[in-house]
Amino acid sequence: MNISDRRRILGPSNAKLLTFDKSGPVEIEPISSSSVPNSTSMYIENGLICNANGSSYLEVTGSTSEADRTLMLTSVYGPRPSRGAFNAKATLSVQFKEVTLEKIPAGELKELCNFLSNVFNAVINLERYPKSGIDVFLSLIHSSNGSQLYELESIISTCVNGITLALIDAGIEIFDTVSAGIYEKHIVAFVKNGTEIVGFWKGKDSASESEDILSIIEQCKLDYLKNRKAMVEYLVRCNDKEDHLQHEVTKQ
């Protein structure tokens, strides 16, 4: 019997399961801190991609100018069955793609993906998912920093925050709401309320070259705490709304 034979009794290639959602779309106003000058603002929307197990859309406006903006769409697929040798833990893969203009050289992209998979290998509870693979797809929709074509640093921190939100949306177990803080051209990813570091990206040709590494981390931590607060607030608010809708449905 041919292997492809067993797909004979399946539906057409574009068939989708009928799902009857209990709740309507959750509308959340953007969490913005525009009233405070010189600060970044973040817009979060989870679950936009219905084909993925979990997804997040992140819009980050930078601290320097309005034009400094990063738009990122993250989707998480899996845990999927893996083939080949037995693996007691899940295998994580991170893929980065610029969906509009391709400006970032391939070498830097590879470096970026390695950095991100290192961070999330430490954070995801991989033991819970034996024999499977988790795929993370990052789609950079837009990134600009006025004069510069792109700013890798703000992209990286958006990636970290976006992946965390997408993993939470997918319901994949992670040990902590990991988030990244950015200072000058350095990025530090923290867990456990800033007491532990899971990733450190040192920027090139930075003006703060002479600065002490501890003070860099301290500065990054401030940014991290702000980002994490926004993310947690969004998650809790979303869940509250869903909860609320659920109750309304059961009442009827």
């Binding site: 067993r6 999927r80 069955p81 083939r83 902590d176």
Partner: protein, 292 residues
């Protein structure tokens, strides 16, 4: 006030729930120990507080926190060695007591879980959560191929738990696969990952695991046919590609089957090894699950 009776806000990954141990009621001659065990959506992690390392439970998912007393374990406490190392340290609200002190008496256990709102009130659901099949899980599978020694199956859902909603995506051909990622990540073979669209977890039911009696007389042909939906239990995670499954119980076996290799109508079990198609009256042999 004990942690299990507290009111909690909505849990999110990284939220500290409670310490691994807590001191309960104290009488003159005994001290009650409350132990918290991480369940679904909860992980035990080391935290440092004022220079001491202590174990605490944190949420790993978003949802509501649930404490459930484990009464079986309360009667027969199982001593663990890992806790006795940092036994006598008491710190903040997280007290740790070694098992030696507890003496196995007056210990209560609570299993802490984080439950998603959507997961409640559902038994089998294919679009939530990440409970992969593990040893002992009851799964619903579809037979894809049979041979004299075994039946190859694909796992559709885990009973009382669920598979992620995209794990079946591959079976109808939509969705993306990472180049060298996901299923290909372990082997780094792009062709292997994309050539096989059936991205479901696969399993094997060996002839000797079909039923509990007369194992050597089992004929796969008289137990399963391709296309049958079978209720089975995971006996081991198996090798890289297949879970090992068993139907050697009364309530396990074929639950749905069509006559004439899928061409006829739906059949119903009339005893543990025969199914009948009511429209034609034709009978076929299967290893049926006990109807209930």
């Amino acid at each position: 006030m004990s942690f299990y009776s507290k009111d909690y806000p909505i849990a999110y990954p990284g939220l500290l729930i409670c310490p691994a141990f807590e001191l309960g009621e104290k009488t003159t001659d005994s001290q009650e120990i409350i132990r918290y065990i991480p369940g679904h959506g909860v992980a035990e992690q080391n935290y440092e507080l004022n220079g001491h390392t202590m174990k605490a439970l944190t949420a790993t998912l978003i949802g509501s926190i649930d404490f459930e007393e484990d009464e079986m374990a309360t009667q027969t406490p199982i001593p663990t060695t890992e806790a006795s190392n940092d036994g006598a340290s008491k710190e903040g609200d997280g007290q740790e007591i070694s098992d030696n002190e507890a003496g196995g008496k007056g210990e209560r256990r609570y299993i802490v879980t984080v439950k998603d709102q959507n997961a409640l009130e559902r038994n089998v659901n294919e679009d939530f959560a990440n409970n992969l099949p593990r040893e002992g899980s009851i799964v619903l599978v579809r037979v894809t191929r049979i041979s004299l020694q075994r039946a190859n199956v694909e796992i559709l859902a885990v009973e009382n738990k669920t598979l992620p909603k995209d794990s079946g995506v591959g079976s109808n051909g939509t969705g993306v696969t990472a180049a060298g990622g996901g299923s290909g990540a372990a082997t780094f073979s792009v062709s292997q990952a994309s050539s096989d669209l059936g991205e479901t977890f696969r399993g094997i039911i060996s002839a000797r695991d079909v039923r509990a009696t007369d194992r050597d007389k089992v004929k796969i042909m008289e137990s399963f046919r391709p296309g049958d939906i079978v209720r089975a239990q995971v006996i081991s995670l198996g090798d890289g590609s297949n879970y090992h499954l068993s139907t050697a119980k009364n309530d396990l076996g074929v639950v749905f089957a069509r006559a004439f290799n899928g061409a006829g109508g739906l059949m119903y079990a009339i005893d543990w090894q025969t199914m009948v198609a009511p429209s034609t009256g034709s009978m076929e042999l299967r290893k049926c699950a006990k109807p209930f």
